[in-house]
């Protein structure tokens, strides 16, 4: 098997607190992987700054057409941001130079089309939201080359040091400055538990390995153990996603000889160094277990053998009270189930100030019937035909709604659907598209309402927490089955599922979602078209709504998919809120809204 690694370690980034371990960890990892037969490209700032150009050059040398490696490990230790729902790895010149960084979501998207069958990302970096305005402009490079010739999809595993918007830690372990995740990862191969080890034959030799699939629980336990020795008050929730199969592994088990075994973790006077200082702790940080439980319940339901359509399995099992409350907030509003026009939005958690429909469809308009009170009374935004009231079947429109706090959203107005919008402090956390109760779709929705509403809320919560990942083809098939109604697909679940399919390297299912939606709503949702772009057989004549990505994370894929938004929207990207659904912060919201109002954005 041919293996390669790009190993990056950056201690000093702009004016951020210098790290003590990143470059050394990269050295260790590079040595370790080289010993495992990897061709290693190592970039650290031990002697000179690490630049985007050097990173791109390293990837160009490895990610070739035709592909020549079966496995690529991409390791980064250094400062990181969580920006526009993507990890940003900061190189030496960031944040002053906005391109001196790596956009991890973009890199992962391109890695899927690298031709290398398995790619593993290890991110030992903070995922803090930048607390200085300049940080918001750092978008980074994709690092991976964009090879159009490659059509096979790779499996991309990732291991992230911490949950979104949270810091990762370094500190003294056994007397030396170490990054906690890296120390835990290397320990997994030096001192694995028996259940982690698998015997495989490589190049004719029988060896012990630790498959990527068996790393997660060990890593969390080890991180907890190491961190307890450094700072008992710190916590670090490792995020692991492994769509690859059981036979994919990074390295062999190499148990050290007893005489040279490392000292126990921890060190007297050790100090945790979060990097950089987090500005706004995520709500998720206190509720990560609930999100994980929800994600597990979805996965378990999807993977249950013999499941039949209509059985909700573990979905219906109650979670803790706090999580149930969060799920309820993502459920459709039972009191408001229709519009005369059959189309519009009920918005919970904010006060609507103004609304406008994009001018590309001049027959439809959006109007605020009730601004709401930001509490129990939702804002009511109706979309209607200018003369006939009812929105004709198959018509769609982009709808911008600006809130009283000046933030703004751009949603897809879909004929026959009511969008139940949940707004929280970070922005829009969910939009449940549900058939209007006076529409013909309502009857079939009613038959599976409880299951679909709960699944949608659970998936929304799990995706919001970056915890929902499909683990197998079986789960993908089961999800594809569940999101289907008889004549179409639940739009929200279709959107979420498309992201999950794409992340799992299953573009065929993304395309299937797109086609079902085309048949049903006679339009394409922006994000799903974006995700299916590699496989689209022919140009569409159908409208695409809304005029920008619905989910914040989709913005990071625009470059990789070569989609160019109007300049005004590109300029607004740094002002996206840290919310699951695209929400423009006040600084950009006026401009976006006004441009739609004037017909400059359609």
């Amino acid at each position: 098997m041919n293996k390669a690694a790009v190993v990056i370690g950056v201690n000093k980034t702009g004016g951020l607190t210098p790290l003590g371990s990143a470059a050394d960890e990269a050295e260790r990892v590079a040595r370790w992987l080289a010993g495992e037969g990897f061709d290693v490209k190592k970039l650290t700032d031990a002697k000179r700054p690490v630049t985007s150009a050097a990173v791109v050059k390293a990837f160009d040398a490895i990610v070739t057409v035709p592909p020549r490696y079966h496995l690529l490990v991409v390791y980064f230790s250094g400062h990181g941001y969580w920006q526009s729902r993507s990890d940003i790895w900061l190189l030496s010149g960031a944040p002053k130079q906005t391109a001196e960084a790596i956009n991890l979501r973009t890199a992962i998207d391109l890695a899927k089309y690298s031709g290398i069958p398995n790619v593993v990302f290890v991110s030992d970096a903070c995922r803090s939201i930048p607390n200085v305005r300049g940080g918001a402009y750092v978008d980074g490079v994709a690092a991976f080359p964009n090879h159009d010739d490659i059509s096979a999809e790779s499996k991309v595993d990732f291991i992230k040091a911490t949950s979104e918007a949270r810091p990762a830690y370094e500190g003294k372990i056994a007397g030396a400055p170490r990054s906690v995740l890296t120390a835990a990862l290397m320990a997994a191969f030096e001192d694995p538990e028996d259940s982690m080890v698998r015997q495989v034959v490589e190049d004719g030799r029988s060896i012990e390995v630790v498959p990527n699939r068996r790393l997660e629980s060990f890593l969390q336990r080890k991180v907890d153990e190491l961190l307890a020795g450094i700072d008992p008050n710190a916590s670090q929730q490792v995020v692991v996603n492994v769509p690859s199969s059981e036979d994919v592994y990074i390295a062999r088990v190499r148990r050290p000889r007893r005489a040279t075994r490392a000292a126990p973790p921890g060190g007297v006077g050790a100090m945790a160094i979060p990097s950089p200082q987090p500005s706004r702790p995520s709500a998720l940080a206190t509720a990560g277990d609930g999100v994980r439980a929800v994600a597990d319940a979805i996965n378990n339901t999807l993977s249950t053998r013999g499941f039949t359509r209509g059985r909700a399995g573990e979905l219906l099992l109650p979670t803790d009270a706090g999580t149930e409350a969060r799920l309820r907030r993502r459920m459709p509003d039972q009191q408001h189930d229709h519009f005369e026009s059959q189309t519009g939005f009920f918005i919970q958690g904010t006060v609507a100030q103004r609304a406008v429909a994009s001018r590309d469809h001049s027959d439809l308009l959006a109007e605020i019937l009730d601004p709401g009170d930001g509490q129990s009374r939702p804002a009511v935004v109706r979309v209607r035909h200018v003369t006939a009231t009812m929105v004709p079947q198959g018509q769609v429109v982009s709808v911008a709604v600006q809130f009283a706090d000046r933030r703004c959203v751009v949603l897809a107005g879909l004929a026959g659907y009511v969008g139940h919008v949940a707004v929280k402090a970070e922005g829009v956390s969910n939009v449940s598209y549900v058939p209007s109760s006076n529409h013909w779709r309502w009857g079939e929705y009613l038959q599976r309402k409880d299951e679909v509403d709960r699944l949608r809320a659970m998936v929304a919560l799990a995706i919001d927490g970056d915890a929902f990942h499909l683990r197998s083809e079986r789960e993908a098939m089961a999800l594809a089955e569940r999101i289907r109604l008889s004549k179409g697909i639940d739009p929200t679940l279709g959107l979420y599922a498309a992201h999950a399919f794409s992340q799992a390297g299953n573009d065929r299912q993304v395309l299937s979602v797109l086609k079902y939606m085309r048949d049903d709503i006679r339009a394409e949702l922006f994000d799903i078209r974006l995700l299916a772009s590699r496989l689209l057989e022919r140009g569409t004549t159908l409208p695409v709504v809304p005029l920008c990505p619905l989910l914040t994370q989709s913005w990071n894929l625009l470059r990789a998919r070569r989609v160019d938004l109007p300049a005004l929207l590109r300029a607004a990207q740094p002002w996206l809120c840290d919310s699951l659904w695209t929400t423009f912060a006040a600084e950009a919201a006026d401009g976006v809204f006004e441009a739609i109002f004037r017909g400059e954005l359609v």
């Binding site: 035709p66 592909p67 020549r68 069958p117 010739d149 059509s151 057989e537």
Partner: protein, 289 residues
């Protein structure tokens, strides 16, 4: 010892026995050129897939560059991408100048600024055909259609591979693949290496050095090892422009490339211009020894 011969494109409607006879006689010529005596015990297998591939081509109804110009892109996006990628690379590697290409375009026609300028793509195809194929059934469009179907459509790959794999035995074997046949042989050996006592793998006029082709093969490997892989080509053969070296086909151990063939067929690609080469025949003779 036997030789397994895997033919290339545009062989539909021919008789396998006739083709085999041509291959064997040409190889005999090569033995003569190499100063080698023809071994009496050598025998041959010639799996034939020409009609099978023709049937798939007829069924597929793939667009041509001219068709894309007339009707617009999007008729078969994947094939169009393949065709564009291949022709772009053939232009670059074949040293086809911008002036040559422009000479095949309507000077009065409007010029699309987008990345998919199909007038340009069509013109590259015309230059290649005009330059190399005055009197044969080989056109670059035929080549691209047949190669594309084989490497991109699972049912085509499986059907053709099965015809070739049926000829695998545990007898010591030299495999010779020509043109698309080199790709077929590569795939079959990769999948069934254990079922074959391979003594030498010889590719002639192979398009494996084209990115549009190699990118569809997964991680490339030297599937012949521990036996040797010898790749021979005429530098004027438009589909075999690139050596199978570290840049175009990076494998270990390296493939031995021989770019000194003087292919005397009118398109510089025909099998009778390859197997009569003394160096190619010498490789066969060496493997027999």
């Amino acid at each position: 010892m036997r030789v397994l011969m895997v033919h290339g494109i545009a062989q539909g409607g021919r008789k396998a026995q006739d083709l085999e006879k041509i291959w064997v006689e040409t190889l005999q010529e090569g033995f003569g050129a190499a100063g080698q005596s023809w071994p009496a015990t050598l025998h041959f297998d010639f799996p034939y897939y020409g009609d099978t591939l023709d049937a798939f081509v007829a069924k597929a109804r793939l667009p041509t560059p001219a068709g894309v110009v007339a009707k617009g892109p999007g008729q078969d996006l994947e094939f169009e991408k393949f065709m564009q990628s291949a022709l772009d690379q053939l232009q670059e590697s074949g040293h086809i100048s911008e002036q040559d290409v422009r000479s095949q375009m309507d000077p009065a026609a409007s010029q699309e600024k987008g990345i998919q300028n199909w007038g340009w793509v069509q013109a590259i195809a015309r230059v290649i055909d005009n330059r190399l194929t005055p009197a044969s059934n080989f056109t670059i469009e035929t080549f691209l259609r047949e190669v594309y179907l084989y490497i991109s459509r699972r049912e085509v790959t499986d059907a053709i591979n099965a015809l070739v794999a049926a000829k695998l035995t545990n007898e010591p074997t030299i495999v010779i693949g020509h043109s698309l046949g080199s790709v077929v042989a590569y795939n079959v050996i990769k999948l069934r290496r254990h079922a074959l006592d391979l003594r030498q793998f010889i590719t002639v006029g192979s398009p494996l050095g084209l990115r549009a082709v190699s990118s569809k093969l997964g991680v490339v490997e030297n599937i012949a090892k521990p036996a040797a892989w010898y790749n021979a080509y005429d530098e004027r053969d438009i589909v075999a422009l690139n050596p199978l070296d570290g840049k175009w086909f990076p494998v270990r151990p390296k493939i031995v490339n021989h770019n000194g063939v003087d292919n005397n067929t009118d398109n510089r690609h025909g099998i009778v211009g390859y197997l009569n080469d003394g160096n190619v025949a010498a490789q066969v003779a060496a493997a027999l020894a």
